[in-house]
């Protein structure tokens, strides 16, 4: 197969657009975060429909206001947040396969539901691979977030690849789930019984402090657990800070932390949390 390089050019962007894949597995021993797509379910879905590898690199879009141009034909696939999308000024669906011709322009507008939109591309984006991953992270890859004028490479064979994907409907209802399944974390037993009850029976609010590193929940809990010696943490680890806040670590989280690790969210739960918006409510259910 002929594989020329084409480029996606960023004409305009809000904050929070980056290239992500399955993450940087095995480099935590050097203090390097895992990174990778926040919503693994949607990332896998776009790659699946494109018949890519499960963890091929995609564009993760966390804010409206992105405008991009493709300089060579390809196939792309959208999934995750439902958003207002325009292809060459014509409104199109925000999920499924889209055939891209040379110089096509795509606009990502307002998000109607969910928080993170994924744009996959045939054979995956081909930006630099550092430590076995293309996921952007400051200090590891050259780019951390997309800015106007960035050019992100992909493979093209100068014609639109045949799309054999069935018109599989993207059902996004899973992201509406309010209940997040969690395992007791390594320090769960240190949490006072009264607090344990509050945590499994209470409703929690996603705060505005939500990024690729962590989501802070708005509610305050009384916390009397002494400071811990630094221990491993992972995406999905829920920390109880000394100020009594719950902090759910996401994909760019540090690899170690000093706060008690009271819960561990399932991978499925991380995808659901990633799609939540500030002010939305969640509940934890122990499994």
């Amino acid at each position: 197969m002929i594989r020329d390089i084409g480029y996606l050019k960023v004409l305009k962007t809000g904050p929070g657009t980056s290239v992500q894949d399955g993450g940087r597995i095995g480099f935590a021993q050097y203090g390097v975060p895992l990174s990778g797509g926040l919503d693994r379910r949607s990332l896998s879905w776009v790659n699946h429909l494109l018949k890519n590898k499960d963890t091929d690199a995609v564009l993760e879009i966390c804010q409206p206001g992105l405008k991009i141009q493709f300089d060579a034909p390809t196939l792309i696939c959208l999934a995750g947040a439902k958003a207002a999308i325009k292809l060459n000024e014509e409104a199109i669906s925000s999920y499924g396969i889209v055939e891209i011709r040379q110089n096509d322009q795509l606009d990502i507008g307002e998000f109607h539901q969910g928080s993170v939109l994924y744009l996959g591309i045939k054979n995956g984006f081909q930006s630099e691979k550092v430590m076995s991953s293309r996921s952007w992270f400051a200090g590891i890859t050259t780019c951390d977030f997309a800015k106007k004028g960035d050019k992100i490479p992909y493979f093209t064979n100068q014609e639109i690849p045949a799309s054999t994907a069935s018109k599989a409907k993207w059902n996004f209802d899973w992201s509406l789930e309010q209940i997040i399944e969690v395992y007791p974390g390594p320090d769960w037993e240190l949490v006072e019984i009264e607090n344990q009850k509050l945590i499994v029976s209470g409703e929690f609010t996603i705060s505005d402090l939500k990024n690729r590193m962590a989501i802070q929940l708005a509610e305050l809990l009384p916390n009397s657990i002494a400071e811990m010696s630094t221990a491993p943490v992972f995406p999905g680890t829920v920390q109880l800070t000394s100020g009594g806040k719950l902090l759910v670590l996401m994909k760019d989280a540090q690899v170690t932390g000093g706060y008690p690790r009271i819960l561990q969210v399932s991978e499925e739960g991380i995808s659901i949390l990633a799609q939540k918006r500030p002010q939305q409510k969640i509940r934890f259910r122990l499994i």
């Binding site: 480099f27 590891i140 561990q264």
Partner: protein, 230 residues
Amino acid sequence: MKPIVKQITPLLYEFEWNSAVTDALLQQQLSFKSNLQNDFSSEISELRMGFKSLAVVLSKPVESALLSDWLQSTNPEESSKLSEKIWQIPVCYSQETGRDLESLAKDKNIPQEKLISIHSQSLYRLHFYGFLPGFMYLNGLVKELHTARKSVPDRVVPAGSVAIGAAQTGIYPSSSPGGWHLIGQTPIPLFDPKLAHPVFATAGERIEFIPITKLEFGQLRRHPQQATFR
């Protein structure tokens, strides 16, 4: 000093030790780590260390009793010694390169020279990396220099800053927000993502801070050198 093992998720386990952070504990953690790597090479996706813990991430679920049975039967080598290697990190201790040096010395009621000599005459044991890519968790700060972290963290701590926070000392490998007290700066690079081995020191080895002048600091900045060991 055997640890307990907890299963957290189908793929995540943690070994935990209930003992003080010492060379002996680190030696046992490292011995456990290498035994795990040997015995479960095809099941383990990654291992992460803490001061009193060792997390195991599996690539596929195993029978839940497997690791607790393994713990019963494994015998970490009690005799093996930690590495004798000592990495020498040049540090320019000064108010210009460590903006909290004056205030920290004042707070401790000791002359700056005394603070510098206490900090640079100790050897520090590298336990693991965390916080930032290439950030070393070091044990061995003398009690006299223990200092509560700043209540309001600094927005920007320059790369290479040598700092004290609570019972620890460390070096910021890259520019970052941080709440530790800055006492100096090293001109040598600590982390290079382009290298197969992006850091120079390995857990179990030791670190020594070598005071250098502002002139030497400037020269090393212009002509960067790799860390050396003795």
